[in-house]
């Protein structure tokens, strides 16, 4: 049933966000710490586990695939509701700070990407 997939997804997200909120409280920051990441891990583990323990039918899968496919349209809607005006019209300092942070972060990617920890590098 399609709803099983949607419900499984909802379950993972609610658990993840709940754990993320608790983590935030424990650390003492006013933010959700990795809630969505925890939810994703949970879904990955459950879907990998399913091969041995329980079977996820194709209808159930399609309930998850639908939301996965809705991802880009949702991101488009998200882009359309950003406060672009505030970002553009706030003066140079905020823009310079944002641009510089992005530039430096991009420059770091190739450096960190070369590090493969805990891997048997045969090449």
């Amino acid at each position: 049933m399609v709803i099983y997939g949607v419900a499984l997804l909802s379950f993972c997200m609610l658990v993840g966000v709940f754990v993320g909120d608790i983590l935030g409280e424990l650390i003492g920051v006013q933010a959700n710490v990795g809630g969505v990441g925890i939810a994703m891990l949970l879904l990955i583990v459950l879907s990998n586990l399913s091969h041995q323990k329980f079977h996820i039918g194709s209808a159930t899968e399609s309930g998850i695939h639908f939301w996965s496919a809705m991802y880009i349209p949702i991101v488009v809607a998200m882009a359309a509701k950003q406060n672009v005006i505030a970002a553009v019209s706030s003066g140079w300092m905020a823009i310079v700070a944002g641009v510089a942070a992005v530039a430096v972060s991009f420059a770091m990617i190739p450096l960190l990407d070369r590090i493969h920890i805990g891997e048997d590098d045969d090449s």
């Binding site: 993972c12 997200m13 993840g16 935030g24 650390i27 920051v29 006013q30 933010a31 959700n32 710490v33 969505v36 990441g37 939810a39 994703m40 891990l41 990955i44 899968e61 998850i64 695939h65 996965s68 991802y71 880009i72 349209p73 949702i74 991101v75 488009v76 809607a77 998200m78 882009a79 359309a80 509701k81 950003q82 406060n83 672009v84 005006i85 505030a86 970002a87 706030s90 003066g91 300092m93 905020a94 823009i95 310079v96 700070a97 944002g98 641009v99 510089a100 942070a101 992005v102 430096v104 972060s105 991009f106 770091m108 990617i109 190739p110 960190l112 990407d113 590090i115 493969h116 805990g118």
Partner: protein
């Protein structure tokens, strides 16, 4: 009268209107991609850019902070593009992700989050100093804003920064997320952002969930779960480090 009824139907069914509207927008973008760029610029990248342009138009017409969603007819776009559906769809993309790729990049991925927060904070702080700020609270708040637009206000509030500074920190974070959305598909080939390992590091370094989500969607949707995974830890780590260790470091210098 007909127009009135139409408007009533559209705004009463706001979320459904948003689905139809975004559908048309995406279709238009893929047509532009195919006909005007011969597929060189990916349709989703054009759709996201168009979304941002429309958000600018919406903001300048309504004076609101929700972009296109401030038009009452398109209020549903705000729901569809809000954090709830965004996070739900991001979690869904994890279905089918490889556990192996995650394990391999585990340590580097975690390190990239901490490095990303510190790096953006330092860059933002340096920019603040070069623009003449000398108050450690203001410098730290702007540095935190260069991390994400959530870390900025959280840090500013914790340190007691004035609201103008907090607004600047939000603007710095917004600039970052908009820029990451736009430039990622163009820079990705140059920095080897084409595999799960690099995507995990990218998510950890950039940290802006919306920027990473939009950027990777326009680059290669298969990479989305990996980048989003590390990015979701970034704001939490930022809220942890910026008002504490990083602020103390700034205060030690000034």
């Amino acid at each position: 009268m007909i127009l009135d009824s139409l408007f009533a139907v559209l705004s009463k069914n706001a979320l459904i209107t948003a689905f139809a509207f975004v559908g048309i927008l995406v279709w238009l973008s893929y047509e532009i991609s195919r006909r005007l760029t011969r597929g060189h610029v990916h349709g989703s990248a054009i759709a996201i850019a168009l979304g941002l342009v429309l958000a600018y138009v919406g903001g300048s017409f309504t004076g609101g902070s929700q972009g296109l969603a401030d038009f009452s007819l398109l209020a549903g776009v705000g729901v569809m593009g809000g954090a709830m559906f965004r996070d739900f769809a991001i979690v869904a993309t994890a279905f089918g992700a490889e556990l192996e790729a995650l394990k391999k990049a585990g340590v580097v991925g975690a390190a990239s989050v901490v490095i990303g927060v510190v790096l953006s904070f330092v860059v933002g702080a340096v920019v603040a100093v070069s623009f003449g700020y000398t108050d450690p609270v203001a410098i730290s708040t702007i540095g935190a804003g260069a991390a994400t637009y959530i870390v900025g206000p959280v840090t500013g509030t914790a340190l007691g920064a004035e609201s103008g500074i907090i607004a600047l920190s939000v603007a710095a974070g917004l600039t970052k997320s908009v820029l990451v959305m736009i430039v990622t598909p163009f820079i990705a080939p140059k920095i080897g952002l084409d595999n799960p390992h690099a995507a995990l590091i990218y998510g950890g370094l950039m940290g802006t969930t919306s920027g990473v989500a939009g950027g990777l969607a326009a680059t290669d949707p298969k990479l989305v779960p990996y980048g989003a995974m590390t990015a979701t830890f970034y704001t939490g780590v930022g809220c942890l480090l910026a008002p504490s260790v990083l602020f103390l470091a700034v205060r030690a210098i000034y």
